[in-house]
């Protein structure tokens, strides 16, 4: 289990190989990659700058991973989140969940993303091609997705 905050890009195959090396008990790997889109609220995007809270970011990502390990039977997992200034098409985030069974891997990767989006201290600032710049607003739907997991736990 590992978390990393990085200014440089990641290679999915490389990270996957590292996570699965020597563990032939893994049956399923679910991966999510988030990328910078070329537009934001109908405007053309020039770049996106990601700020984070060093120290808290790592602590929070580790808490999220620990929670995922409690809920799902995982063999290995990884969260990589980039910071700094990125361009459209650039990778932002990588989540990998490896498990003996497909269902655990898929559910864990969704859980990690939903929690990361609502709890990990990252902030996006978008610079548009028209010269304007603004901080991205948090989306209600993201908070809803994370809340649904909380609800799921309560139901059990």
């Amino acid at each position: 289990m590992a978390v990393r905050v990085d200014t440089s890009d990641f290679d999915v195959s490389e990270e996957m190989a590292r996570l699965t090396a020597q563990d032939t008990g893994i049956g399923g790997i679910a991966i999510f990659v988030g990328k910078v889109r070329d537009h934001a609220s109908g405007q053309d995007l020039a770049s996106m700058t990601l700020e984070h809270y060093p120290g808290m970011t790592e602590a929070e990502l580790e808490r999220i991973e620990t929670e995922a390990r409690k809920r799902f039977k995982l063999s290995a997992s990884l969260i990589v989140h980039r910071v700094g200034t990125l361009k459209p098409g650039d990778n932002i985030v990588l989540v990998i969940a490896c498990a003996p069974h497909r269902q655990d891997a898929i559910a864990a990767s969704e859980f990690l993303m939903d929690y990361l989006k609502t709890r990990a201290p990252f902030w996006k600032k978008e610079a548009l091609t028209n010269g304007e710049a603004h901080w991205v607003d948090a989306r209600e739907s993201d908070a809803g997705a994370a809340a649904a997991w909380h609800h799921k736990q309560t139901e059990r």
Binding site: E51, G55, R63, R119, P121, F122, W123, K124, R139
Partner: protein, 92 residues
């Protein structure tokens, strides 16, 4: 209160538009003794004068972390060494 008038120094940190609006990324200070919870602190920030008064007008859009962990408005500040202010997170 029987405790010392002067409490321990804490580090305050500001991120994203809170950093920009306050013009501050980090400061160290002793909080007034009557500021004992997160919500006390948010109210007190708005009384510090420009530019904090503007930055802390709409406190419902401000999140607070105590020693690197998310905190609710009623959370006590006793023993805390680092307090951070930021908007709702938008990573991922």
């Amino acid at each position: 209160m029987t405790k010392d008038a002067k409490g321990p120094e804490v580090t305050l940190r500001y991120f994203a538009w809170l950093r920009e609006k306050t013009g501050t990324s980090e400061e160290r200070m002793v909080l007034p003794p009557e500021v004992t919870t997160v919500s006390d602190l948010l109210r007190w920030q708005a009384t510090r004068g420009h530019p904090f008064d503007i930055a802390f007008t709409k406190t419902e859009t401000i999140r607070v972390a105590l020693d690197h962990a998310h905190a609710k408005s009623g959370a006590p500040l006793a023993g805390v060494r680092e307090i951070a202010f930021f908007p709702p997170v938008t990573g991922g």
